[in-house]
Every structure is written in C-alpha cells, then in structure tokens.
Amino acid sequence: MTNLEKYNQAFIETLEVAKEQLEGLEYQQIANWDSVGHMTLIAAIEDAFDIMMDTDDIIDLSSYEKGKEILSANYDIEF
C-alpha cells in the first residue's frame, strides 16, 4: 500500500466516509469526526505509519489536507 492509501484508509475506516468525501474534509464537519472520532483517527494513523505524534500535531490536525502536511513535515512521510 502506498502512504496515501494507508492515510486514506485510516480516515475511511475510522470516520466511515467514502473516498470521494476525503478532499476538503474538516474536523467537526461530519458527525463521526468529533473529538472522540479524532482520537480514534489519530490512533489509526499512528498504527498505519508506526509513529507517535506530538500532542500539538494531534491538536493541529484539523483537516484531511492539514494531516498530510503535518505527516510530511514532521514525520518524513511522503505523499
């Protein structure tokens, strides 16, 4: 699986969204991406890439795009 596929899958599985919904998706925009869903999503992303994110990065991950930015800037994950 490519990094993008892994990243997408974390969203699709934990937030129960379709692939088509991912672009532009923001925190709190859908019911499943609330604060509880957020922690589940983070756990899935961490498992997928075998990383442990910093607390500030977890707080700042406020959209699908922002997450990619954070992962490439701070965790050397290329998309």
């Binding site: 925190y27 709190q28 604060s35 922690m39 961490e46 607390t55 500030d56 977890i58 700042d60």
Partner: protein, 358 residues
C-alpha cells in the same frame, strides 16, 4: 498576539510582576472583545462598571458569578462559529452550565492543558490507563464534563485501556497484561478522585491484589466531596494508592468546565499551582474585597483562554485560600492555593458526581 507569546513560555517560570503584566494585557483584550461582541456582557459592564473595559490591575477586572452560565447563553462569536457546547455535569434537577466554544478557544484549551500537564508528566506520550468505563464516551452528542476530562487527557496516552467495565468492575487481568506489555515505561493514569478510590483502590484492597505501578503518574480531579463522607484525606488517598499499586506520583487538580484547559495542578509539595495562563483571587464574601494570602474566601478564577464566551473572570462557589506566591519549595512560580470545597448553601456539584453509585 499576546496569547502566542504566553504559549511559548514555560507555564511556571514567570514571577509576579512579569506574569501579572502579561495576564493583564490579555484579560483587558478579552474584556474589550466581550464588550464589543456580547450584548449581555456589554450591559453588565455599562450598568455595573460604567462601560469601562481597561483595568490597571488583575484585582479590578470585573467578574461574573459562575451561576450566570446556567441562567444565560452567553456567546461572543457568531453562532456559526460555535462548534461545540460544553456542559457542566449537574446532577438531576440542577441546571447545567453551557459553555460555547469556537475552534480557536477549544484548540487553545487543549494546547494549554498539554503545556501544564507535561510539566508533571514529561513531554512524551505514554501508555495510559483510563480509570473509568468505556460507556462514558458513548453518547457522543451529550457527554458530560467527565467525558470531556477523559478526552482532554487522552491526548497524553499513546496506547489506552479502560480500567473498568461498564458495570464498574475492575478489569484486573487486562490491566496486568497491559502493564506486562509496557513494563519499564512510565504509565499514565487518569480518572476522577471518587471513582479511583471507590472502584480501583477499594477493589484492589478487597481482593488483596497488587498492581505494579511504581512507574506510574496519576492525575485525578473532580473534587473530594463524595470522599469527605468516607473521611478520606489527601494523604490517605495517596498512601492508600501507594499500598495497592506502589504509585508515588499522584497529582490532584482543580479546574472547571467554565475554564477548561487552565487547570491547577498539585505539585510534589501538595499545593495546587496557577500557571502563567490563569490566576486565582480569593475574595471576602462580606464585601468582595481581596483576601490576603492565608485567609479563606470565595475563589475567583481568571483565565486567558475564553474567546468565544465571556469567561475570563469568574467568581466560583468554591472556598479556598492562597497559600503563597512564587515561593513554593517545588520551585514553580505563581500563586499556589488550597481548595476547601463548595460554599455552604451552594448546590452540590462536581465532575465525578455524574456517576451515581447503584
């Protein structure tokens, strides 16, 4: 922005003069914003404070009684910016506080919480035992202060388990496996004071089991009210826990849903500390004058965080006292306080009270 400057600082290194000037600047900014963007707040300032929004001292900043958040829906941002409404626990028959959050305020609350807590736990995230049951987060639209507390602190957990089943039985085998898996690492434990005592300590004591948590860091909050009936003191709480799981690092905290994020953590000397982001003023209930250190009175809390609701200065219904400032033996600057619980005649309230013993 002044708040960004504050975020870059260590929460406990600024002494009186420096801290007060930072905090005052931010609180004046907030007063001004509330005045311009919240009509109810504007009326309050106009009628009781002659329309004044700039003050020269923290003591002079107007305070709202905490009850007002139960009686009125106070917002300082447009409705469409509100993305989350926090409610205080409030047992049956009581009105709950409603606190309206926009993204900025909620994000700042989380960031400040991490700044404060990591001063006690270290910077890295740790395997975490949540001393509560999974159902506390089930109703996602309406979780209480208890759920919010757990979520807020979950940020410090890397891997997490719940200590209790939904019937409040201790998952002792699961906890043992968890501890084996992460042996040698610092384990983070979070829960509410009463529940830890009732369902963790007492259970372990009853069944005579010991859990190896010598490396654990425990943070607990929610108040001592329910434990007062059982006559459990702070010292007994700590020594009891040490006995059943060897834990040495146990920290109480004082905080409230009206000022989420700015918690007052208990240091190694047993004192609750105000960080650079917030402060406490003790007031004499007879005339609301400021009490000198060491004297008991009503607790007023100041917070630099609330942007979306007018909550930067609140008179609580708690009794407390400022023990000292800038000179706690633990080395942290700022005021350190003690809280004695709710005032007489104030309603009984507290985060962990939402779970009623069957």
């Amino acid at each position: 922005m002044i708040l960004d400057t504050m975020l870059d600082r260590n929460p406990y290194t600024d002494a009186h003069t420096e801290k007060n000037s930072l905090l005052l600047e931010r609180l004046n900014e907030l007063t001004d914003h509330y005045y311009n963007d919240c009509s109810e707040y504007r009326r309050f300032i106009d009628v009781l404070h002659n329309g004044r929004t700039k003050y020269d001292s923290l003591d002079d900043i107007p305070f709202l009684p905490v009850k007002i958040f139960k009686q009125m829906e106070l917002k300082c941002v447009p409705d469409e910016d509100i993305f989350k409404t926090m409610t205080s626990s409030g047992t049956t028959g009581q009105q709950v506080s409603k606190i309206f959050l926009d993204r900025q305020t909620a994000g700042m609350q989380q960031k400040v919480l991490t700044r404060i807590v990591s001063e006690y736990t270290g910077n890295s995230r740790m395997p975490m035992i949540i001393l509560d049951c999974p159902s506390v987060l089930k109703n996602r639209n309406m979780f209480s202060a208890r759920g919010a507390g757990i979520l807020g602190f979950s940020l410090f957990g890397s891997k997490k388990i719940y200590a209790f089943t939904d019937d409040m039985e201790l998952n002792i085998d699961e906890i043992r496996q968890f501890l084996e898996k992460y042996s040698g690492q610092t384990i983070f434990l979070f829960g509410f004071t009463y529940m830890i005592w009732q369902y963790f300590y007492k259970k372990l004591k009853d069944i005579g089991e010991y859990l190896p948590l010598e490396n654990g860091v425990m943070i607990h909050g929610g108040g001592w009210k329910k434990l007062i009936n059982e006559a459990v003191s702070k010292e007994e709480f700590k020594s009891g826990l040490n006995e059943v799981c060897g834990i040495k690092s146990v920290h109480d905290y004082y905080g409230m849903v009206e000022q989420t994020g700015c918690i007052y953590m208990e240091c190694e000397c047993g004192h609750l500390h105000a960080s650079v982001f917030s402060d406490v003023i003790i007031r004499d209930m007879k005339d609301f004058s400021v009490c000198e250190n060491g004297k008991r009175g009503a607790v007023q809390v100041l917070s630099s965080l609330p942007w979306s609701y007018p909550g930067h200065s609140i008179l609580t219904e708690d009794m407390g006292c400022v023990l000292g400032e800038d000179d706690c033996p633990c080395g942290r600057k700022g005021k350190y306080i003690e809280i004695y619980g709710r005032m007489k005649n104030a309603e009984v309230r507290g985060c962990s009270d939402t779970f009623e013993k069957k």
